[in-house]
Every structure is written in structure tokens, then in C-alpha cells.
């Protein structure tokens, strides 16, 4: 049964109302009409479920659930490559209905071009209009895997609630690469104008502090969301960011002071960073750690099932924190999230998503995995690059 309050939210939550694919992965052509409810895709392995949610993920900022380039998604057949590919969607956003399109640039097919209502757009605009969170089987190894994967995941959580986060992060990275190029040259004996380094370090510090502050802010909201949640089917996590700037901002120090100190830190580190060939301090080195509250254990030490439940719990908590702040939940992509959940957790997930009023995209090998959603979900059968919506009226 659908909750009344969830229904009220459905109006404004971002979601796809029509999805058209042309020459995308194993889809020659697809045209799906959807309503605001969650979408359950089911079909056998290799049918094209992940490909379909990848297309949806291309409507938000970034390079999608597989971090793929424009050439990888072009449809391959025995005859060769399709000449072009495109993902077109009509979507509801917090600012009203829009059309979103992304596809190969006709003038340069290996580049991807994105349009919002027919005009060129920016990553920041997409992040604002079509915030998105996703979990794929890759995130199963999040806690035990490399630090950079964990931060990338966390930065995506932040971005879904703070649309400027992406441009601050890429700006910081760009300034850092510029500085490193100068330090490398200096290390090789070339003369570099110190004012140029000063300028880059000032830019790194400004963007780095903005980036760290957005993380600290998002973490605080997320943690209080977790703390305030009634006991759900998913375990609660205690999160911590370990980073030079984040620690000081979290302790309440003024951003300006932290920024000035970071400039000095960078200045002092020039020789060392030049010798190392990379910069050794800054928010690009920040680490996220999580503890399973009930077990009082580091997430990395928990069982595989517990680790998955922790990530899923985080994504749901962040989605509801965002719904609280921005008035609408982000689009959620949960690829193969149900497969390994027991019945209680599957029901918990269904209830959680229906309460959020989010358009969640779920995948699984059989329709039975989505039983707990009842009529709250629209079912789509996927077989060999063909997706058919099952008419629930019929």
C-alpha cells in the first residue's frame, strides 16, 4: 500500500517520465513511459538492466554508474558500431518538467554532449536539477576497498545535496595539477615565478576549504539523520572524516583561518611535493571511516552482508536528509541491491523508499524480489536489450 504522505511528495521529487535510448549499449531503440513511482527492472543476467540504469545515471552530473566514456556506450553489433548514441529523457525536477538529452556529439562522436531543454548546460545545473545517488555491486567492497573509492562515494553523497560540490572539487583538482606541474619543473631545475605558485596555492586553498566545508556539513546532517531515524532494517553507522581541513572545520574554526593556514602548509610543502611528484596534504587525501554502531566494529571488519547493509543504510539516510533540506528526495539507483537481502531487509528497503517518495531504480533477476513494494512500484521486464513495462492495470 502507498502511504499518503509519500504520495504528496511524489509530485516534486525528481524522476524520469519518459526514457528514450538510441544505440546505447545493447539497446538499439527504447521508448519507455513512466510515472513517478520507483521502477523495478527484472530479467536474466546480461539482459541489459545495468545498461538501462546506466542510461538513467547519464542524466545526472558525472560519467554515470560505470564511469564510462562516450565510446564505450556506443552500441556494438556483429556488423560494427552504431554511428551515434543518445539518451533522451523527459523528467520532473524540483524546478518543474524538463527535457534532458545526452549523446555523442555529431561533430566529434567520441565526445559526449549534454542538453537541458535543448540548450547547452553545466554539471552544476544537472546536479541542482537532477540530484542522484547510486549503489552498484561495486560498492559492496566499499569499506574494505581503496580509500579513494570510499571518498568518491562520499563526495557523490555530498554532491546530491550540494550542487556546487562538483565544481569546487574539480577546481581544486585542476589547481593542484597546475601547481604540481610547476613543482615538477622546479624540481628539474627550471626557474618558476614564486608568485605563480602563490596564486595557485591561494586558489587551491579557497576551493579546498569550500570542498572540505561541504563535506563536513553533509556529514553532520547525515549523522544526525542516522541518529534520529527510528531503528530500521539497516544498521546505524558512526561516521568520521579524517582530513587536515575537515578536522579543523568540524571543530568550529573559521573557514578564513583554516584557508590561510592551508596556504602556509602548501608553501612549506613545495620542496617535498616536488620531490614526491604529487601533493601529500590536502582534502584529496581525506579518509572516511565508519563503525557499525550496534556491533561497535569498524565497517571494514564487518561481514560482507553487514557491510552492504551499512552502505544501503547510508544511501537511504542521505536521501532522506536531502529530502528534508531541499524538499525532495534525489533519484536513487540501486543496482542489484535486493539480491542478497533477507526478507526483512527487502521489506525495510521497500518501506524506506516508498516513505521517501523517491523515484528509485532497482534491478534484480526476478520480479519476486520486489514483492514488498506491492503496487508502489512499476515493473519493467528486460530481456536481451528490450524493456517492456508490465501494465499493472491489466
Amino acid at each position: 500500500m502507498i502511504d499518503e504522505t509519500a504520495n504528496a511528495n511524489l509530485k516534486s521529487a525528481p524522476g524520469v517520465t519518459r526514457l528514450k535510448l538510441t544505440g546505447f549499449r545493447n539497446y538499439a531503440a527504447l521508448d519507455l513511459t513512466l510515472d513517478p513511482r520507483p521502477v523495478a527492472l527484472f530479467g536474466s543476467n546480461g539482459a541489459g538492466k545495468t545498461n538501462l540504469v546506466e542510461a538513467v545515471s547519464f542524466l545526472g552530473p558525472g560519467r554515470g554508474v560505470r564511469a564510462a566514456g562516450a565510446d564505450a556506450v556506443r552500441r556494438r553489433t556483429a556488423e560494427g558500431h552504431d554511428p551515434i548514441w543518445a539518451v533522451y529523457a523527459e523528467a520532473m525536477t524540483v524546478e518543474g518538467p524538463v527535457s534532458l538529452a545526452t549523446g555523442s556529439d555529431p561533430a566529434e562522436p567520441s565526445r559526449r554532449k549534454t542538453r537541458l531543454d535543448g540548450a547547452a548546460t553545466t554539471q552544476t545545473a544537472l546536479a541542482r536539477l537532477f540530484p542522484m545517488l547510486w549503489l552498484t555491486p561495486r560498492e559492496d567492497r566499499l569499506w574494505a576497498g581503496p580509500r579513494s573509492d570510499r571518498m568518491r562515494f562520499f563526495d557523490r553523497l555530498v554532491l546530491a545535496g550540494a550542487p556546487d560540490h562538483g565544481s569546487e572539487a574539480s577546481g581544486y583538482e585542476k589547481a593542484q595539477r597546475e601547481r604540481q606541474r610547476l613543482l615538477d619543473k622546479q624540481y628539474e631545475g627550471a626557474r618558476v615565478d614564486p608568485d605563480w605558485l602563490n596564486a595557485l596555492e591561494a586558489e587551491m586553498a579557497a576551493r579546498g576549504v569550500a570542498l572540505a566545508a561541504a563535506r563536513v556539513d553533509a556529514l553532520a546532517r547525515l549523522q544526525s539523520e542516522i541518529d534520529a531515524r527510528p531503528d530500521t532494517a539497516f544498521p546505524k553507522a558512526d561516521l568520521e572524516l579524517e582530513g587536515l581541513l575537515e578536522a579543523r572545520l568540524a571543530a568550529g574554526e573559521a573557514a578564513g583561518v583554516v584557508e590561510d593556514d592551508f596556504i602556509l602548509t602548501l608553501q612549506d610543502a613545495r620542496r617535498r611535493d616536488g620531490a614526491a611528484g604529487r601533493s601529500l596534504t590536502g582534502p584529496h587525501r581525506t579518509e572516511l571511516s565508519a563503525r557499525h554502531r550496534e556491533k561497535d566494529q569498524l565497517a571494514a571488519d564487518c561481514s560482507t552482508g553487514e557491510q552492504k547493509a551499512l552502505v544501503l543504510g547510508l544511501a537511504l539516510a542521505q536521501a532522506s536528509a536531502i529530502a528534508r533540506v531541499r524538499g525532495a528526495a534525489p533519484v536513487l539507483i540501486l543496482d542489484e541491491a535486493c539480491a542478497h537481502l533477507d526478507v526483512a531487509r527487502r521489506e525495510g528497503l521497500a518501506q524506506g523508499l516508498l516513505d521517501l517518495g523517491a523515484q528509485a531504480w532497482l534491478t534484480g533477476v526476478e520480479a519476486g524480489l520486489f514483492e514488498a513494494f506491492g503496487e508502489g512500484v512499476q515493473r519493467v521486464r528486460v530481456e536481451d536489450g528490450v524493456a517492456t513495462r508490465l501494465d499493472d492495470q491489466g
Binding site: 589547481a175 597546475e178 619543473k185 615565478d193 605563480w196 602563490n198 586558489e203 576551493r207
Partner: protein, 199 residues
């Protein structure tokens, strides 16, 4: 294989190097010109040849004009006390179109970018410092794009001018991050100018 001969192919190829023209639109443009040889193609060819011969960079500000100093630099009604620093001539044109500014300009000819191999020696910086040193000049506005390279260049110039007795200001951040001045509408530009602030 193309149906067009090598002369036409060469024309298309040259056209498609222009910004905003892909191979397809270059083909259309070439065809259009060939079909309107007397009304479009020949006048265009003459205009191109004349521009290539006569237009040069102004030795004072870097603007493009047939005269040196350029029309902006030699206009006595403009205010000598303020210099507005821009990346490209395109930015200067955008600001002139908006009519937001009545002082002098200085075109840097790019922005610092170590990764693209553009250093301080590649920009018109020495002449800027020279001009800023003059007693008349009171304010230097850094109207650079809100990109990392634009802002880094702004920091760099502020440092270089710090010991001179000029005020250094920047455009208000009505300019979107990563946004390019040339693409902003006139209203946004004028507003950014009015609310400029110390760098």
C-alpha cells in the same frame, strides 16, 4: 569518397576549423557561398583579405583594430584612471557591447596555465605593470573568468601590482563558476561591474 573536388574539400576543411562550425555546417556554409558567389563569397573574400592586411593588435592595450592605438585607446572621452584587464579581445567586445564600462582596457592574451604551457612571459603583463605605474591610473579591474586559470591569473596580477598605488578590484561573483565572460548576457555583466570589490 566525397563528390566535391579538392578545392572545395580544402575550403570545407578550413571552414570547419572555425569555432562553432563542425564538418556538416562547414559543408553547408561552403555550398551557400558557392551558390551566392557575387553577393556573399567575393565580398567575404575581399573583407577577409582586407582584415588580414590591415587589422593589428593595439600596442597599448592589445585590442584588434586598423589603427594603433586602437579606437578605444584614442577615445578622449574615456576615463584614463581605470584599466579593465580581460583575457581576450572577445571579452573586451562583450564588455563594450554591454556598455558597462567607460575606462581603458588591457587584453592579456590568455591566462596562466602550466598544463597548457602558458606562463607569465606569454601574457601581456609587463606592459600592464608599466601602464598601472602611471600616475593617472587609480584602479585596475581584473575582469577575468571564474575558472581556475582565470582566478589564478587574477591572484598573480594582484601580487604583481601590490606595491603600486592603485586599487585592485574584481568583478562580483555574479559570474558563474567556470563561466566565460563572452557568453554572459549584458545585464549580468553590467551588474557584475557595478558591484566590483577589492581583490
Amino acid at each position: 569518397m566525397s563528390a566535391a573536388g579538392p578545392e572545395i574539400e580544402r575550403l570545407i576543411q578550413l571552414l570547419s576549423r572555425l569555432p562553432g562550425l563542425g564538418p556538416r555546417s562547414a559543408r553547408r556554409a561552403a555550398l551557400q557561398m558557392l551558390q551566392k558567389r557575387d553577393t556573399v563569397m567575393r565580398p567575404l573574400a575581399e573583407a577577409l583579405a582586407e582584415a588580414a592586411d590591415k587589422i593589428k593588435a593595439c600596442s597599448t592595450c592589445g585590442n584588434l583594430d586598423v589603427a594603433d592605438p586602437c579606437a578605444v585607446c584614442s577615445d578622449y572621452r574615456r576615463d584614463d584612471k581605470i584599466i579593465c584587464v580581460v583575457e581576450t579581445v572577445g571579452d573586451l567586445w562583450a564588455l563594450e557591447r554591454a556598455g558597462a564600462f567607460k575606462g581603458r582596457y588591457h587584453v592579456l592574451g590568455g591566462v596562466l596555465s602550466a598544463l597548457d604551457g602558458v606562463g607569465p612571459e606569454d601574457l601581456n603583463l609587463a606592459s600592464l605593470i608599466e601602464r598601472a605605474r602611471s600616475d593617472e591610473v587609480r584602479e585596475v579591474i581584473l575582469a577575468l573568468n571564474a575558472t581556475v586559470d582565470g582566478q589564478t591569473t587574477a591572484h598573480f596580477i594582484s601580487d604583481k601590482l601590490a606595491n603600486l598605488s592603485v586599487d585592485i578590484t574584481t568583478l562580483a561573483r555574479g559570474v558563474p563558476v567556470g563561466g566565460e565572460l563572452d557568453y554572459l548576457d549584458d545585464g549580468t555583466l553590467s551588474a557584475a561591474f557595478r558591484s566590483r570589490r577589492p581583490a
